[in-house]
């Protein structure tokens, strides 16, 4: 019988795998944050995980490292799923840094921006790590467990945007451009 996904990752990265479990065919591998991108690259190239379904974050307040960065992978050719986790950040939520997966899957771009916006996990190597759901003046990260639930941020003024090439959150290669941008963009250039 072929080796399971977990076994293959364990064989390839014997030191990086911290924990594994598999429930109802849902394979989960907790890896060292330093090996995050290497494991992801292995999963994409060798295990044929063509699709990054979701990349998100979990805040375990009181635990150290505090955050779980979670990536859900799906293999379209083999019909398998794999979940990767890595633990980052100290008790105050500082130094939460992990490598970006944008190079491997384009869909990681917005997911990582959301994780940065909501949890303050910094993705090293991300091409454009800006807030995506909230606005630049927003203070703090809203989905952290220690963010006060009743905190009201001050209203922001109307913003004149000169550089309409890059209106948040849309960039010309990030999705359909609309709003004040021109629709005359070329397809298949990049």
């Amino acid at each position: 019988m072929a080796k399971s996904l977990i076994q293959q990752i364990q064989l390839e990265f014997p030191d990086a795998v911290l924990e594994t479990h598999s429930q109802h065919g849902d394979d989960t591998v907790v890896v060292d944050a330093a090996a995050w991108k290497a494991v992801a690259r292995f999963a994409k190239d060798t295990l044929a995980m063509e699709m990054l379904v979701d990349l998100t974050c979990v805040d375990w307040l009181g635990r150290e490292p505090r955050f779980d960065v979670v990536a859900h992978l799906h293999s379209l050719s083999k019909g398998q799923r794999l979940r990767l986790k890595a633990r980052v950040g100290d008790a105050e939520g500082e130094h939460a840094e992990i490598e970006s997966l944008t190079e491997l899957w384009g869909s990681a771009n917005w997911s990582e921006r959301e994780a940065w916006d909501m949890f303050g996990v910094r993705f090293v190597g991300h091409p454009d790590l800006r807030r995506i759901l909230t606005y630049p003046e927003f203070v703090g990260h809203a989905l952290r467990k220690d963010y006060p639930a009743d905190r009201v941020q001050p209203l922001v003024p109307y913003r004149e945007v000169d550089n309409t090439e890059k209106l948040p959150p849309f960039d010309h290669h990030e999705g359909m451009s609309f709003g004040r941008q021109t629709h005359a963009f070329s397809r298949g250039e990049d």
Binding site: L133, T134, Y135, Y147, D150, V152, Q153, L155, V156
Partner: protein, 193 residues
């Protein structure tokens, strides 16, 4: 026929009867014209928009009140319908829309979210549009029934006629507790014995 009753100016204006002329104050005439020609700007952001469509459609039909023509330019509209939740990020846009409208202008908060923020008491949402712009009529409800919206529209018309710029709130037409024939109360009673 009995006693002859002299029709009021309002009746003469509304029914078209009379002897070819009517006397009134200019401000009253202007207000009368304004309240039946509300060009609206629907600022629809959330699920209340579905109920707004119900009010616009023939069954309830707010065009009966002269508030028919939607104008998707704030320059041409008198009445700003804020329909749905307004988030912090959207707040400056709503304010800019309001500033672009020409006087005289009125604002109608459609639904609980636009009025007070509703249950979205979180980091993203504005707790009521009156944090940003002045509001004339609040219509509570999640979403409000079309009857409540029509009540709100008529309340606004009364305010325009009387020149009252104080905010008004649409009250429920009846209190369900005082109406035992209402299905919901009956159901509760039969459930709990």
């Amino acid at each position: 026929m009995g006693e002859l009753k002299k029709p009021s100016t309002q009746e003469i204006l509304e029914t078209g009867q009379g002897q070819g002329f009517a006397t009134t104050k200019f401000s009253d005439l202007l207000a009368w014209a304004q309240k039946y020609s509300l060009f609206m700007y629907p600022f629809v952001t959330a699920c209340c928009g579905m109920e707004f469509m119900a009010v616009s459609s023939p069954r309830f039909d707010h065009s009966r009140f002269g508030a028919e023509a939607p104008r998707f330019s704030p320059r041409q509209s008198d009445l700003l319908w804020v329909v749905g939740t307004i988030v912090q990020r959207q707040a400056p846009i709503l304010k800019r829309i309001y500033e672009q409208m020409a006087e005289p202008k009125w604002v109608l908060a459609f639904g609980t979210c636009a009025s007070v923020g509703g249950f979205y008491d979180n980091y993203a949402c504005v707790a009521g549009i009156d944090k940003i712009i002045p509001c004339d009529v609040y219509i509570p409800g999640c979403p409000p029934r079309p009857e409540a919206v029509l009540d709100g529209l008529m309340l606004l018309q009364d305010k325009i006629q009387s020149g009252d710029r104080r905010p008004g709130i649409v009250k429920p037409r009846f209190d369900p507790v005082t109406r035992p024939d209402m299905g919901v109360v009956q159901l509760r009673r039969s459930k709990h014995g």
